[in-house]
């Protein structure tokens, strides 16, 4: 019986507590940087797009919401001819970000992407591509991997070591 009275009293004391509610449109919740929200395609520190159209994100995607078509420029550099994410299917699992070898595809803390029409949920490459490098500001895939340019293969330019033979046993 006393427990009941104590329970009522403890509930009453909550009269003097602050509400936990964040009144959303006026007050903004804190979004952690690693929050998995809207997906973007990032660029190199040089300003070129990072995506090499390897299809790994598309393969990793459990709901198959990523569609892209690879193509090449005159130097043989691969890039996506189109890159399409259907956000009405996307479950924001972040597997595409983990699969990406070039840190091109990244998830951002933005979650406000409501639309009145389903077709508007399909984002094309120009909607996805941002102007900055995203979460890895200094990373440039071709600085690490090397790049073949017209007439010269990887490692054949001045001050360059030949690339490691991945299939060799020696260190």
């Amino acid at each position: 019986m006393l427990n009941l009275v104590r329970g009522i009293w403890l509930v009453f004391l909550h009269l003097f507590h602050r509400p936990e509610t964040i009144q959303y449109p006026e007050e903004r919740p804190y979004m952690p940087p690693r929050f998995r929200g809207r997906i973007v395609l990032t660029r190199d520190p040089d300003g070129k797009e990072r995506c090499v159209a390897c299809y790994l994100c598309s393969v990793a995607c459990p709901v198959d919401c990523i569609a892209l078509q690879a193509t090449q420029d005159e130097h043989g550099r691969r890039y996506p001819a189109f890159f399409r994410i259907n956000f009405s299917r996307c479950i924001f699992c972040g597997f595409c970000e983990e699969a990406c070898p070039t840190y091109a595809i990244q998830l951002t803390p933005d979650f406000e992407m409501c639309e009145y029409h389903r077709e508007s949920m399909v984002y094309e490459k120009e909607d996805l591509l941002i102007s900055g490098p995203g979460k890895h500001p200094d990373y440039n895939f071709y600085r690490v991997a090397g790049l073949a340019i017209g007439g010269k293969d990887k490692g054949e330019a001045e001050h360059e070591a030949p690339p490691v033979d991945l299939h060799g046993l020696m260190p």
């Binding site: 329970g7 009522i8 509930v11 909550h14 009144q23």
Partner: protein
């Protein structure tokens, strides 16, 4: 003639006051529950979310008023009206101010008890007429619960009537000029409060509705305005019982003269209404057998003990005269 006009005005004020209070309870309950659960509650529509009541009204009036084909139509339609009528009838006897009441019944207390007993019919008939098992279960639970707690509701008031020497609510209030009955009749207050919780089917005793077990109990099949009538009936019942507790135990409209009696009455009633919401926020639902055994094994002996002690003390004071 002027007396008739005055009476009609008072009747209208009390009627609409009770209905507005019951409608306002929607907002009060949701905001207060929210406060006690560290939330805000409805605060979007209008100032402090007050227009939420209006929005809810519009919504419930514009819903489809559906009568199930398997229901007993006449009774099904009558049941929600009965609860509203009985609750609103009880407001007739409440002395809101020294000269502000609808009827000065010399059997006011008995009238209140009679009306709250009649309210049971509404629930039972609703459960029966719906012709569905959840409704029937809710109705049966309500019948058993409300009939047994009716006993304690009545017995706890006998002490008050004994001290006041009258069934007239105005005289009961006047008898509290020196000392509110919440002190000599403390046990009566507690029992009356618990019984009134059961009468209004509020949380620790909300078995007739029991959302988690019986869908919505006796009003499972009800929609639109009939559903609304049950809710207004329940909320009006809370306001009524708070007003009754104020009248019987907290001196009704009595109070220091820096506020008018009417305001004293309303303030006390409002505070008591808040305690009903507080109990709803704090206590879980009892099991059905616990409810019954608590009633008959704890409250009944306490009631009788309270009666004997009150009677004995009164006899000792008045010297058997």
């Amino acid at each position: 003639m002027s007396m008739t006009v005055r009476t009609i005005v008072i009747v209208l004020i009390v009627l609409f006051g009770a209905l507005f209070a019951a409608a306002g309870m929607i907002w009060v309950e949701r905001r207060l529950l929210a406060v006690w659960q560290d939330r805000y509650g409805p605060n979007r529509v209008g100032p402090f979310g007050l227009a939420q009541v209006l929005a809810d009204m519009v919504k419930i009036f514009s819903k489809e008023d559906w009568i199930p084909p398997f229901a007993d139509k006449v009774v099904f339609v009558l049941a929600p009206a009965v609860i509203l009528i009985t609750v609103l009838m009880s407001f007739v006897v409440i002395p809101i101010g020294p000269y502000f009441r609808v009827a000065d019944l010399n059997i006011g207390l008995l009238f209140f008890l009679a009306m709250s007993s009649m309210g049971v019919y509404s629930i039972v008939l609703a459960g029966w007429a719906s012709n569905s098992k959840y409704s029937l279960l809710g109705g049966m639970r309500a019948a058993a619960q409300m009939l047994s707690y009716e006993v304690f509701l009545g017995l706890s008031l006998v002490g008050v009537a004994m001290i006041a020497g009258s069934f007239n609510l105005q005289e009961i209030v006047n008898a509290q000029r020196n000392l509110w009955f919440c002190i000599p009749q403390f046990m009566g207050l507690i029992i009356f409060y618990i019984a009134s919780l059961a009468e209004t089917r509020r949380t620790p005793f909300d078995m007739p509705e029991a959302d988690s077990e019986l869908v919505a109990g006796f009003h499972t099949e009800y929609s639109a305005i009939k559903f609304g009538a049950f809710f207004v009936g329940e909320y009006a019942g809370i306001v009524l019982n708070s007003a009754m507790i104020t009248t019987f135990f907290f001196g009704g409209w009595l109070g220091p003269s820096w506020l008018p009696p009417l305001v004293w009455f309303l303030v006390k009633t409002a505070l008591l209404v808040c305690t009903y919401v507080l109990i709803r926020a704090a206590l879980p639902r009892l099991r059905y057998d616990q409810l019954m055994s608590f009633g008959w094994k704890v409250l009944l002996p306490l009631c009788l003990l309270n009666l004997i002690v009150t009677g004995g003390v009164l006899l000792a004071i008045t010297g058997g005269g």
